[in-house]
Protein backbone atom coordinates (compact mmCIF):
# COMPACT_ATOMS: atom_id res chain seq x y z
CA UNK A 1 0.00 0.00 0.00
CA UNK A 2 1.33 3.44 -0.92
CA UNK A 3 1.12 6.14 1.75
CA UNK A 4 1.58 9.79 0.80
CA UNK A 5 2.26 12.58 3.29
CA UNK A 6 2.66 16.26 2.39
CA UNK A 7 3.77 19.21 4.44
CA UNK A 8 3.85 22.95 3.82
CA UNK A 9 5.76 24.85 6.47
CA UNK A 10 7.23 28.19 7.44
CA UNK A 11 9.59 28.55 10.37
CA UNK A 12 11.61 31.39 11.86
CA UNK A 13 14.65 30.45 13.93
CA UNK A 14 17.15 32.44 15.93
CA UNK A 15 20.47 30.62 16.19
CA UNK A 16 23.99 31.92 16.79
CA UNK A 17 22.64 35.47 16.43
CA UNK A 18 21.35 34.80 12.92
CA UNK A 19 17.65 35.00 12.15
CA UNK A 20 16.62 32.41 9.58
CA UNK A 21 13.23 32.23 7.93
CA UNK A 22 12.67 29.05 5.95
CA UNK A 23 9.77 28.13 3.70
CA UNK A 24 9.42 24.65 2.34
CA UNK A 25 6.90 22.19 1.02
CA UNK A 26 7.59 18.55 0.50
CA UNK A 27 6.15 15.09 0.26
CA UNK A 28 7.09 11.67 1.54
CA UNK A 29 5.89 8.45 -0.02
CA UNK A 30 6.11 5.03 1.58
CA UNK A 31 5.67 2.21 -0.90
CA UNK A 32 6.34 -1.09 0.78
CA UNK A 33 9.95 -0.99 2.01
CA UNK A 34 10.84 2.11 -0.02
CA UNK A 35 10.64 5.59 1.53
CA UNK A 36 11.11 8.59 -0.77
CA UNK A 37 11.03 12.31 -0.01
CA UNK A 38 11.23 15.34 -2.29
CA UNK A 39 10.32 19.02 -2.36
CA UNK A 40 6.94 19.82 -3.91
CA UNK A 41 8.14 23.01 -5.59
CA UNK A 42 5.11 24.92 -4.32
CA UNK A 43 4.93 28.31 -2.65
CA UNK A 44 4.14 28.40 1.04
CA UNK A 45 1.39 30.83 1.98
CA UNK A 46 1.41 30.83 5.77
CA UNK A 47 1.70 33.76 8.16
CA UNK A 48 4.15 33.87 11.02
CA UNK A 49 5.04 36.68 13.44
CA UNK A 50 8.84 37.04 13.16
CA UNK A 51 9.24 39.40 16.13
CA UNK A 52 8.11 36.76 18.65
CA UNK A 53 11.31 34.77 18.30
CA UNK A 54 13.69 37.67 18.91
CA UNK A 55 11.62 39.04 21.78
CA UNK A 56 11.49 35.64 23.45
CA UNK A 57 15.25 35.15 23.05
CA UNK A 58 15.77 38.50 24.79
CA UNK A 59 13.56 37.36 27.65
CA UNK A 60 15.58 34.16 28.01
CA UNK A 61 18.87 36.08 28.09
CA UNK A 62 17.46 38.44 30.70
CA UNK A 63 16.63 35.69 33.15
CA UNK A 64 20.06 34.01 33.15
CA UNK A 65 22.23 35.09 36.11
CA UNK A 66 25.49 36.86 35.29
CA UNK A 67 27.64 34.09 36.71
CA UNK A 68 26.00 31.51 34.42
CA UNK A 69 26.97 31.23 30.75
CA UNK A 70 24.29 30.93 28.09
CA UNK A 71 26.20 28.43 25.95
CA UNK A 72 23.49 27.80 23.35
CA UNK A 73 20.17 29.45 22.62
CA UNK A 74 18.05 28.38 19.69
CA UNK A 75 14.49 29.69 19.45
CA UNK A 76 12.08 28.84 16.67
CA UNK A 77 8.44 29.37 15.82
CA UNK A 78 6.66 27.70 12.97
CA UNK A 79 3.39 26.91 11.32
CA UNK A 80 2.76 23.90 9.12
CA UNK A 81 -0.08 22.37 7.17
CA UNK A 82 0.02 18.58 6.97
CA UNK A 83 -1.82 16.22 4.64
CA UNK A 84 -2.03 12.46 4.86
CA UNK A 85 -4.45 10.80 2.47
CA UNK A 86 -7.66 12.82 2.77
CA UNK A 87 -6.85 14.23 6.24
CA UNK A 88 -5.46 17.76 6.46
CA UNK A 89 -4.46 19.57 9.66
CA UNK A 90 -2.47 22.57 10.85
CA UNK A 91 0.04 22.84 13.69
CA UNK A 92 1.72 25.83 15.28
CA UNK A 93 4.86 25.20 17.25
CA UNK A 94 7.42 27.19 19.20
CA UNK A 95 10.60 25.65 20.58
CA UNK A 96 13.55 26.83 22.65
CA UNK A 97 16.78 24.96 23.22
CA UNK A 98 18.76 26.49 26.07
CA UNK A 99 22.14 25.27 27.34
CA UNK A 100 23.31 26.86 30.58
CA UNK A 101 26.81 26.36 31.94
CA UNK A 102 28.57 26.87 35.25
CA UNK A 103 32.09 26.83 33.84
CA UNK A 104 33.96 26.77 37.14
CA UNK A 105 32.15 23.59 38.21
CA UNK A 106 32.05 22.22 34.64
CA UNK A 107 28.30 21.77 34.79
CA UNK A 108 25.90 22.04 31.87
CA UNK A 109 22.12 21.85 31.91
CA UNK A 110 20.13 21.79 28.69
CA UNK A 111 16.47 22.71 28.57
CA UNK A 112 14.11 21.98 25.71
CA UNK A 113 10.94 23.99 26.00
CA UNK A 114 7.90 24.14 23.77
CA UNK A 115 4.36 25.40 23.23
CA UNK A 116 2.17 26.52 20.34
CA UNK A 117 3.74 29.99 20.43
CA UNK A 118 6.70 31.67 22.11
CA UNK A 119 4.27 33.47 24.40
CA UNK A 120 3.12 30.09 25.67
CA UNK A 121 6.60 28.96 26.78
CA UNK A 122 7.10 29.44 30.50
CA UNK A 123 10.45 30.92 31.51
CA UNK A 124 10.13 29.58 35.05
CA UNK A 125 12.33 26.58 34.27
CA UNK A 126 15.14 28.75 32.84
CA UNK A 127 15.06 30.95 35.95
CA UNK A 128 15.09 28.01 38.37
CA UNK A 129 17.92 26.20 36.58
CA UNK A 130 19.92 29.39 36.06
CA UNK A 131 19.68 30.33 39.72
CA UNK A 132 20.48 26.78 40.75
CA UNK A 133 23.60 26.71 38.59
CA UNK A 134 24.67 30.05 40.06
CA UNK A 135 24.25 28.75 43.63
CA UNK A 136 25.67 25.22 43.35
CA UNK A 137 28.46 24.90 45.87
CA UNK A 138 29.26 21.29 46.69
CA UNK A 139 28.72 17.56 46.18
CA UNK A 140 26.56 15.67 48.67
CA UNK A 141 24.86 12.33 49.07
CA UNK A 142 21.35 12.00 47.71
CA UNK A 143 18.74 12.74 50.39
CA UNK A 144 16.48 9.85 51.43
CA UNK A 145 13.39 11.75 50.31
CA UNK A 146 13.30 14.21 47.44
CA UNK A 147 10.99 15.58 44.81
CA UNK A 148 11.95 15.88 41.17
CA UNK A 149 10.82 19.13 39.57
CA UNK A 150 8.49 18.78 36.57
CA UNK A 151 11.05 19.85 33.96
CA UNK A 152 13.68 17.37 35.15
CA UNK A 153 11.00 14.68 35.52
CA UNK A 154 9.84 15.24 31.93
CA UNK A 155 13.30 14.43 30.59
CA UNK A 156 13.49 11.28 32.76
CA UNK A 157 9.97 10.03 32.12
CA UNK A 158 10.51 8.00 28.91
CA UNK A 159 13.18 6.01 30.79
CA UNK A 160 10.88 5.16 33.72
CA UNK A 161 8.57 2.85 31.80
CA UNK A 162 8.99 -0.16 34.10
CA UNK A 163 9.76 1.62 37.38
CA UNK A 164 7.64 0.70 40.42
CA UNK A 165 5.05 3.30 41.38
CA UNK A 166 4.69 4.92 37.99
CA UNK A 167 2.18 4.35 35.20
CA UNK A 168 2.87 6.06 31.89
CA UNK A 169 -0.02 7.32 29.82
CA UNK A 170 -0.27 8.75 26.33
CA UNK A 171 -2.49 11.85 26.56
CA UNK A 172 -5.11 12.60 23.93
CA UNK A 173 -4.70 15.55 21.60
CA UNK A 174 -3.92 16.43 17.99
CA UNK A 175 -2.98 14.07 15.17
CA UNK A 176 0.03 11.86 14.64
CA UNK A 177 2.34 11.67 11.61
CA UNK A 178 -0.19 9.60 9.68
CA UNK A 179 -3.18 11.81 10.44
CA UNK A 180 -4.68 9.56 13.12
CA UNK A 181 -6.17 11.21 16.19
CA UNK A 182 -4.02 10.69 19.27
CA UNK A 183 -6.02 8.98 21.96
CA UNK A 184 -5.37 8.36 25.62
CA UNK A 185 -3.96 4.98 26.54
CA UNK A 186 -1.60 3.33 28.99
CA UNK A 187 1.89 2.97 27.58
CA UNK A 188 4.09 -0.02 28.31
CA UNK A 189 6.72 -1.32 25.93
CA UNK A 190 7.01 -0.75 22.18
CA UNK A 191 5.42 -0.93 19.66
CA UNK A 192 3.59 2.30 20.46
CA UNK A 193 0.24 3.04 18.81
CA UNK A 194 1.06 6.29 16.96
CA UNK A 195 3.54 7.56 14.40
CA UNK A 196 5.92 10.48 15.01
CA UNK A 197 7.15 12.42 11.97
CA UNK A 198 9.41 15.36 12.93
CA UNK A 199 10.12 16.17 9.27
CA UNK A 200 8.79 15.01 5.92
CA UNK A 201 12.35 13.95 5.12
CA UNK A 202 12.50 11.15 7.68
CA UNK A 203 10.64 7.89 7.87
CA UNK A 204 8.02 8.10 10.64
CA UNK A 205 8.66 6.09 13.83
CA UNK A 206 6.30 4.81 16.48
CA UNK A 207 6.48 6.89 19.67
CA UNK A 208 4.14 7.69 22.54
CA UNK A 209 2.64 11.20 22.25
CA UNK A 210 2.20 13.68 25.10
CA UNK A 211 3.47 11.14 27.62
CA UNK A 212 2.56 11.72 31.25
CA UNK A 213 2.85 9.88 34.53
CA UNK A 214 -0.51 8.97 36.02
CA UNK A 215 -1.01 11.31 38.98
CA UNK A 216 -1.35 9.67 42.39
CA UNK A 217 -1.51 12.90 44.41
CA UNK A 218 -3.97 15.74 43.89
CA UNK A 219 -1.42 18.38 44.81
CA UNK A 220 2.33 18.28 45.11
CA UNK A 221 3.78 20.51 47.80
CA UNK A 222 6.08 18.03 49.48
CA UNK A 223 8.53 19.86 51.81
CA UNK A 224 11.62 17.86 50.87
CA UNK A 225 14.82 18.63 48.87
CA UNK A 226 14.09 19.33 45.25
CA UNK A 227 15.93 17.97 42.18
CA UNK A 228 15.93 20.98 39.85
CA UNK A 229 18.05 19.80 36.91
CA UNK A 230 19.78 16.88 35.25
CA UNK A 231 23.48 17.41 34.53
CA UNK A 232 24.24 13.94 33.21
CA UNK A 233 22.79 10.52 32.46
CA UNK A 234 24.85 7.65 33.92
CA UNK A 235 22.63 4.74 33.06
CA UNK A 236 19.06 3.70 32.42
CA UNK A 237 17.61 5.28 35.60
CA UNK A 238 20.78 6.81 37.11
CA UNK A 239 21.30 10.55 36.81
CA UNK A 240 23.69 13.30 37.86
CA UNK A 241 21.47 16.07 39.19
CA UNK A 242 21.39 19.39 40.98
CA UNK A 243 19.44 19.31 44.24
CA UNK A 244 18.17 22.31 46.22
CA UNK A 245 17.46 21.64 49.90
CA UNK A 246 16.36 25.19 50.61
CA UNK A 247 19.69 26.25 52.08
CA UNK A 248 22.11 25.20 49.39
CA UNK A 249 22.27 23.70 45.91
CA UNK A 250 24.48 20.63 45.55
CA UNK A 251 25.46 18.04 42.97
CA UNK A 252 24.37 14.49 43.65
CA UNK A 253 23.61 11.19 41.95
CA UNK A 254 20.21 9.54 42.03
CA UNK A 255 19.08 6.08 41.01
CA UNK A 256 15.35 5.73 40.47
CA UNK A 257 13.97 2.30 41.27
CA UNK A 258 10.69 3.40 42.85
CA UNK A 259 8.47 6.48 42.71
CA UNK A 260 6.50 7.15 45.91
CA UNK A 261 4.01 9.63 44.45
CA UNK A 262 3.26 11.56 41.27
CA UNK A 263 1.82 15.07 41.17
CA UNK A 264 -0.50 16.44 38.50
CA UNK A 265 0.93 17.45 35.08
CA UNK A 266 2.62 20.84 35.37
CA UNK A 267 3.90 21.64 31.89
CA UNK A 268 4.45 20.19 28.40
CA UNK A 269 7.95 19.68 27.00
CA UNK A 270 9.12 18.73 23.48
CA UNK A 271 11.05 15.57 24.31
CA UNK A 272 10.35 12.98 21.60
CA UNK A 273 6.69 13.35 20.64
CA UNK A 274 5.97 15.40 23.77
CA UNK A 275 6.05 14.79 27.51
CA UNK A 276 4.15 16.35 30.40
CA UNK A 277 6.28 17.01 33.46
CA UNK A 278 4.97 16.27 36.94
CA UNK A 279 6.56 16.40 40.34
CA UNK A 280 7.82 12.95 41.30
CA UNK A 281 8.38 12.07 44.95
CA UNK A 282 11.26 9.64 45.43
Amino acid sequence: MTERYRKWGRVVRLERDSLISADEAGEAIEDGELFTARPLGENVDLQLPVGDVEAFASEVRACVPESVELERLIVSAGVADHEFGSVRWRERTARAHVALVNRSRRLRVTLDLGAESCAGIALRDVRVVGEGLARVSTHAAAPPLMVIAPYAASAMLPMLVNVEGITLIQSAGGRDGKGARIEERVISDAPFPNWFRPSYRVRPVRLPFHLRADATAAAADWPVPRVIAITGVRGHCDFDVLCDDGERVFETVIAIDRVRAVGPPAGWYPHGAGVFGSELLL
Binding site: S18, I20, S21, A22, D23, E24, F35, A37, R106, R108
Partner: protein, 316 residues
Protein backbone atom coordinates in the same frame (compact mmCIF):
# COMPACT_ATOMS: atom_id res chain seq x y z
CA UNK B 1 29.38 38.66 4.46
CA UNK B 2 26.24 38.91 2.32
CA UNK B 3 25.96 35.93 0.02
CA UNK B 4 23.63 33.47 -1.69
CA UNK B 5 23.96 29.76 -1.06
CA UNK B 6 22.23 27.23 -3.34
CA UNK B 7 22.33 23.50 -2.78
CA UNK B 8 20.88 20.30 -4.18
CA UNK B 9 21.37 17.03 -2.30
CA UNK B 10 20.40 13.49 -3.20
CA UNK B 11 20.78 10.72 -0.71
CA UNK B 12 19.74 7.13 -0.46
CA UNK B 13 19.95 4.10 1.79
CA UNK B 14 20.41 0.55 0.52
CA UNK B 15 20.02 -2.60 2.60
CA UNK B 16 21.50 -5.76 1.10
CA UNK B 17 21.77 -3.97 -2.23
CA UNK B 18 18.08 -2.93 -2.29
CA UNK B 19 17.17 0.76 -2.08
CA UNK B 20 14.97 1.47 0.95
CA UNK B 21 15.23 5.28 1.15
CA UNK B 22 15.71 7.99 -1.49
CA UNK B 23 15.62 11.72 -0.90
CA UNK B 24 15.97 14.83 -2.96
CA UNK B 25 16.53 18.12 -1.15
CA UNK B 26 17.06 21.52 -2.68
CA UNK B 27 17.16 25.05 -1.42
CA UNK B 28 18.51 28.54 -1.46
CA UNK B 29 19.59 30.78 1.41
CA UNK B 30 20.14 34.50 0.93
CA UNK B 31 22.05 36.08 3.79
CA UNK B 32 21.99 39.80 4.34
CA UNK B 33 23.58 40.96 7.57
CA UNK B 34 22.32 38.61 10.25
CA UNK B 35 19.14 37.68 8.38
CA UNK B 36 18.87 34.56 6.25
CA UNK B 37 15.90 34.04 3.93
CA UNK B 38 15.73 30.37 2.97
CA UNK B 39 13.40 28.46 0.71
CA UNK B 40 13.40 25.09 -1.00
CA UNK B 41 13.82 26.56 -4.49
CA UNK B 42 15.58 24.17 -6.87
CA UNK B 43 18.40 25.27 -9.18
CA UNK B 44 18.08 23.19 -12.35
CA UNK B 45 21.80 23.21 -13.16
CA UNK B 46 22.80 22.07 -9.68
CA UNK B 47 20.08 19.42 -9.79
CA UNK B 48 21.53 18.04 -13.02
CA UNK B 49 25.08 17.97 -11.65
CA UNK B 50 23.92 16.37 -8.41
CA UNK B 51 21.95 13.74 -10.31
CA UNK B 52 25.07 12.81 -12.29
CA UNK B 53 27.13 12.54 -9.09
CA UNK B 54 24.47 10.41 -7.41
CA UNK B 55 24.27 8.13 -10.46
CA UNK B 56 27.90 7.19 -9.80
CA UNK B 57 27.13 6.24 -6.18
CA UNK B 58 23.95 4.21 -6.72
CA UNK B 59 25.47 1.19 -8.53
CA UNK B 60 28.23 1.00 -5.93
CA UNK B 61 25.61 0.93 -3.15
CA UNK B 62 23.71 -1.79 -4.99
CA UNK B 63 26.89 -3.88 -5.14
CA UNK B 64 26.94 -4.48 -1.36
CA UNK B 65 24.73 -7.52 -0.72
CA UNK B 66 26.01 -8.04 2.83
CA UNK B 67 25.55 -4.64 4.41
CA UNK B 68 23.93 -1.25 4.53
CA UNK B 69 25.00 1.75 2.48
CA UNK B 70 24.06 5.39 2.77
CA UNK B 71 25.11 7.47 -0.23
CA UNK B 72 25.00 11.27 -0.37
CA UNK B 73 25.82 13.57 -3.28
CA UNK B 74 25.59 17.32 -2.83
CA UNK B 75 26.30 20.21 -5.14
CA UNK B 76 26.33 23.75 -3.82
CA UNK B 77 26.95 27.14 -5.36
CA UNK B 78 27.96 30.16 -3.29
CA UNK B 79 27.91 33.70 -4.69
CA UNK B 80 29.28 36.76 -2.92
CA UNK B 81 31.42 39.80 -3.68
CA UNK B 82 34.34 37.34 -3.60
CA UNK B 83 33.00 35.57 -6.68
CA UNK B 84 31.02 32.42 -7.32
CA UNK B 85 31.91 28.77 -6.96
CA UNK B 86 30.25 25.42 -7.37
CA UNK B 87 31.41 22.50 -5.27
CA UNK B 88 30.42 18.85 -5.51
CA UNK B 89 30.82 16.30 -2.75
CA UNK B 90 30.00 12.61 -2.72
CA UNK B 91 30.36 10.17 0.14
CA UNK B 92 29.11 6.76 1.16
CA UNK B 93 28.79 5.25 4.61
CA UNK B 94 29.11 1.48 4.35
CA UNK B 95 28.20 -0.75 7.29
CA UNK B 96 29.05 -4.46 7.28
CA UNK B 97 28.92 -6.63 10.37
CA UNK B 98 28.11 -3.64 12.56
CA UNK B 99 31.25 -1.70 11.57
CA UNK B 100 31.10 1.41 9.40
CA UNK B 101 33.43 3.35 7.17
CA UNK B 102 32.91 6.52 5.16
CA UNK B 103 34.25 6.25 1.65
CA UNK B 104 34.20 7.82 -1.80
CA UNK B 105 33.78 6.25 -5.25
CA UNK B 106 37.54 6.21 -5.91
CA UNK B 107 38.28 4.38 -2.63
CA UNK B 108 35.08 2.31 -2.46
CA UNK B 109 36.48 -1.00 -3.66
CA UNK B 110 39.57 -1.01 -1.42
CA UNK B 111 37.66 0.26 1.63
CA UNK B 112 34.83 -2.28 1.33
CA UNK B 113 37.27 -5.14 0.78
CA UNK B 114 39.13 -4.10 3.93
CA UNK B 115 35.88 -3.68 5.88
CA UNK B 116 34.78 -7.23 5.02
CA UNK B 117 37.95 -8.53 6.61
CA UNK B 118 37.63 -6.77 9.96
CA UNK B 119 34.56 -8.21 11.63
CA UNK B 120 35.02 -7.79 15.40
CA UNK B 121 35.53 -10.88 17.58
CA UNK B 122 32.46 -12.40 19.16
CA UNK B 123 33.89 -11.82 22.65
CA UNK B 124 32.23 -8.97 24.48
CA UNK B 125 34.82 -8.93 27.26
CA UNK B 126 35.51 -5.28 28.10
CA UNK B 127 38.81 -3.87 26.87
CA UNK B 128 40.96 -1.86 29.26
CA UNK B 129 43.17 0.24 27.02
CA UNK B 130 44.82 1.92 29.99
CA UNK B 131 48.35 0.76 30.61
CA UNK B 132 48.92 0.05 26.92
CA UNK B 133 50.59 2.32 24.37
CA UNK B 134 48.40 2.77 21.31
CA UNK B 135 49.65 2.69 17.74
CA UNK B 136 47.24 4.62 15.55
CA UNK B 137 47.28 2.99 12.09
CA UNK B 138 45.55 3.70 8.80
CA UNK B 139 45.25 7.43 9.52
CA UNK B 140 43.15 6.83 12.66
CA UNK B 141 45.19 9.35 14.69
CA UNK B 142 43.48 12.00 12.60
CA UNK B 143 40.17 11.10 14.24
CA UNK B 144 41.65 11.41 17.74
CA UNK B 145 43.21 14.77 16.90
CA UNK B 146 40.14 15.92 14.95
CA UNK B 147 38.39 15.71 18.32
CA UNK B 148 41.16 16.83 20.67
CA UNK B 149 42.56 19.64 18.52
CA UNK B 150 40.05 20.41 15.74
CA UNK B 151 36.85 20.59 17.77
CA UNK B 152 38.67 22.29 20.62
CA UNK B 153 39.87 24.93 18.12
CA UNK B 154 36.31 25.35 16.83
CA UNK B 155 35.25 26.10 20.41
CA UNK B 156 38.16 28.51 21.02
CA UNK B 157 39.56 26.28 23.75
CA UNK B 158 42.73 27.26 25.56
CA UNK B 159 45.80 26.41 23.48
CA UNK B 160 47.93 23.56 24.73
CA UNK B 161 51.66 22.98 24.26
CA UNK B 162 51.42 20.17 21.73
CA UNK B 163 54.70 18.46 20.71
CA UNK B 164 56.84 20.76 18.58
CA UNK B 165 57.00 18.12 15.84
CA UNK B 166 53.19 17.99 15.42
CA UNK B 167 51.40 19.70 12.54
CA UNK B 168 47.59 19.85 12.30
CA UNK B 169 46.03 21.88 9.54
CA UNK B 170 42.59 22.30 8.04
CA UNK B 171 43.00 22.61 4.27
CA UNK B 172 39.71 23.11 2.41
CA UNK B 173 39.79 22.27 -1.28
CA UNK B 174 37.14 24.85 -2.24
CA UNK B 175 37.97 28.47 -3.04
CA UNK B 176 34.90 30.08 -1.47
CA UNK B 177 33.36 28.77 1.72
CA UNK B 178 29.65 28.28 2.43
CA UNK B 179 29.34 31.85 3.75
CA UNK B 180 30.90 33.54 0.71
CA UNK B 181 34.35 34.10 2.23
CA UNK B 182 37.59 33.26 0.47
CA UNK B 183 38.63 29.94 1.99
CA UNK B 184 42.10 29.45 3.44
CA UNK B 185 44.04 26.83 5.33
CA UNK B 186 44.22 27.13 9.12
CA UNK B 187 46.80 25.89 11.61
CA UNK B 188 44.47 24.21 14.10
CA UNK B 189 47.13 24.26 16.82
CA UNK B 190 46.82 28.07 16.89
CA UNK B 191 43.45 29.03 15.44
CA UNK B 192 39.97 27.73 14.65
CA UNK B 193 39.09 26.52 11.15
CA UNK B 194 38.98 29.54 8.85
CA UNK B 195 36.10 28.29 6.70
CA UNK B 196 32.39 28.35 7.36
CA UNK B 197 30.25 25.39 6.33
CA UNK B 198 26.55 24.50 6.49
CA UNK B 199 24.79 21.18 5.97
CA UNK B 200 21.61 22.51 4.34
CA UNK B 201 20.02 25.72 3.13
CA UNK B 202 18.13 25.87 6.44
CA UNK B 203 21.30 25.99 8.54
CA UNK B 204 23.45 28.78 9.89
CA UNK B 205 27.00 28.64 8.49
CA UNK B 206 29.49 27.91 11.26
CA UNK B 207 33.24 27.46 11.44
CA UNK B 208 33.88 23.81 10.67
CA UNK B 209 36.72 21.58 9.67
CA UNK B 210 36.79 20.40 6.05
CA UNK B 211 40.00 18.44 5.47
CA UNK B 212 42.20 17.81 8.50
CA UNK B 213 45.79 16.92 7.72
CA UNK B 214 47.92 15.71 10.62
CA UNK B 215 51.64 15.60 9.89
CA UNK B 216 54.96 15.71 11.68
CA UNK B 217 58.46 17.11 11.29
CA UNK B 218 61.22 15.23 13.03
CA UNK B 219 59.00 13.24 15.40
CA UNK B 220 60.41 10.28 17.34
CA UNK B 221 59.56 7.15 15.38
CA UNK B 222 59.85 4.37 17.94
CA UNK B 223 57.18 1.64 17.80
CA UNK B 224 56.54 -0.15 21.11
CA UNK B 225 56.68 -3.94 20.90
CA UNK B 226 53.71 -4.27 23.26
CA UNK B 227 50.79 -2.09 22.19
CA UNK B 228 47.18 -1.75 21.10
CA UNK B 229 46.89 -1.13 17.37
CA UNK B 230 43.89 0.99 16.40
CA UNK B 231 42.67 0.86 12.81
CA UNK B 232 39.15 2.27 12.87
CA UNK B 233 37.01 4.49 15.09
CA UNK B 234 33.24 4.33 15.00
CA UNK B 235 32.54 7.75 16.43
CA UNK B 236 33.98 10.50 18.53
CA UNK B 237 32.92 13.39 20.69
CA UNK B 238 34.60 16.37 22.29
CA UNK B 239 32.95 18.13 25.22
CA UNK B 240 34.14 21.73 25.38
CA UNK B 241 33.08 22.06 29.01
CA UNK B 242 34.97 19.10 30.46
CA UNK B 243 37.56 19.08 27.64
CA UNK B 244 37.15 15.33 27.49
CA UNK B 245 37.43 13.37 24.24
CA UNK B 246 35.44 10.19 23.77
CA UNK B 247 36.31 7.86 20.93
CA UNK B 248 34.68 4.53 20.10
CA UNK B 249 37.27 2.19 18.61
CA UNK B 250 35.69 -0.41 16.32
CA UNK B 251 38.73 -2.21 14.98
CA UNK B 252 41.82 -2.84 17.06
CA UNK B 253 44.32 -5.53 18.02
CA UNK B 254 46.37 -6.11 21.13
CA UNK B 255 49.94 -6.86 20.07
CA UNK B 256 52.44 -8.38 22.46
CA UNK B 257 55.57 -9.54 20.70
CA UNK B 258 54.48 -12.15 18.20
CA UNK B 259 51.04 -12.51 19.82
CA UNK B 260 48.22 -10.63 18.12
CA UNK B 261 44.67 -10.59 19.52
CA UNK B 262 41.63 -9.00 17.88
CA UNK B 263 39.70 -6.74 20.29
CA UNK B 264 35.96 -6.04 20.50
CA UNK B 265 34.85 -2.38 20.20
CA UNK B 266 35.80 -0.19 23.17
CA UNK B 267 35.59 3.43 24.23
CA UNK B 268 38.54 5.69 24.95
CA UNK B 269 37.62 8.54 27.28
CA UNK B 270 40.44 10.94 28.11
CA UNK B 271 41.06 14.62 28.71
CA UNK B 272 42.60 16.74 25.98
CA UNK B 273 45.54 17.41 28.26
CA UNK B 274 46.18 13.70 28.77
CA UNK B 275 46.05 13.09 25.03
CA UNK B 276 48.53 15.93 24.52
CA UNK B 277 50.89 14.49 27.10
CA UNK B 278 50.67 11.00 25.58
CA UNK B 279 51.63 11.89 21.99
CA UNK B 280 54.97 10.21 21.65
CA UNK B 281 55.90 9.32 18.09
CA UNK B 282 54.90 9.55 14.45
CA UNK B 283 56.22 7.89 11.32
CA UNK B 284 55.65 8.07 7.60
CA UNK B 285 53.51 10.40 5.51
CA UNK B 286 49.86 11.25 6.27
CA UNK B 287 47.55 8.54 4.97
CA UNK B 288 43.86 8.90 4.27
CA UNK B 289 41.49 7.77 7.01
CA UNK B 290 38.23 6.38 5.61
CA UNK B 291 36.16 9.38 6.54
CA UNK B 292 34.48 11.12 9.41
CA UNK B 293 30.87 12.26 9.51
CA UNK B 294 31.01 15.08 11.98
CA UNK B 295 28.02 16.65 13.75
CA UNK B 296 27.89 20.08 15.36
CA UNK B 297 24.57 21.64 16.38
CA UNK B 298 22.84 18.90 14.42
CA UNK B 299 24.65 19.74 11.16
CA UNK B 300 26.26 16.56 9.84
CA UNK B 301 29.18 17.10 7.47
CA UNK B 302 31.85 14.84 6.02
CA UNK B 303 35.35 15.85 7.12
CA UNK B 304 38.30 14.32 5.30
CA UNK B 305 41.08 13.25 7.66
CA UNK B 306 44.69 12.19 7.09
CA UNK B 307 47.44 11.29 9.53
CA UNK B 308 50.70 9.37 9.68
CA UNK B 309 51.12 6.34 11.91
CA UNK B 310 51.27 7.76 15.43
CA UNK B 311 51.92 6.45 18.93
CA UNK B 312 50.38 7.54 22.21
CA UNK B 313 51.97 6.34 25.42
CA UNK B 314 49.86 4.72 28.13
CA UNK B 315 46.67 6.73 28.64
CA UNK B 316 44.84 6.81 31.93
Amino acid sequence: MDHTFNIVTRDGVWRAGIAIEKRLSSGRARQSGRSIAASDACDAKLDETCGAAFDVLAPLAESVPDGRVRAVAAVRRVSSSNGEEEWTSAAMTVTIGGISIVTTPEHFSDDVTWLRGVAPPASAAPVDYRGWPIVWNRGSASVLLHEAIGHAAEEDAQRLAWPSWLRVRDEPLFRIDDAGNVARAANLLDEPPASYRRATFRDVPIRRMTRVIVDHAGAPASLPERHIEVNLAGGGHYDPLSEVVMLTVTNAHRVNGSRRESLPPFVIRESRERIRASLGAAAGPPVRYPGVVCSTDGQKLVVDCLAPRMVTSELG
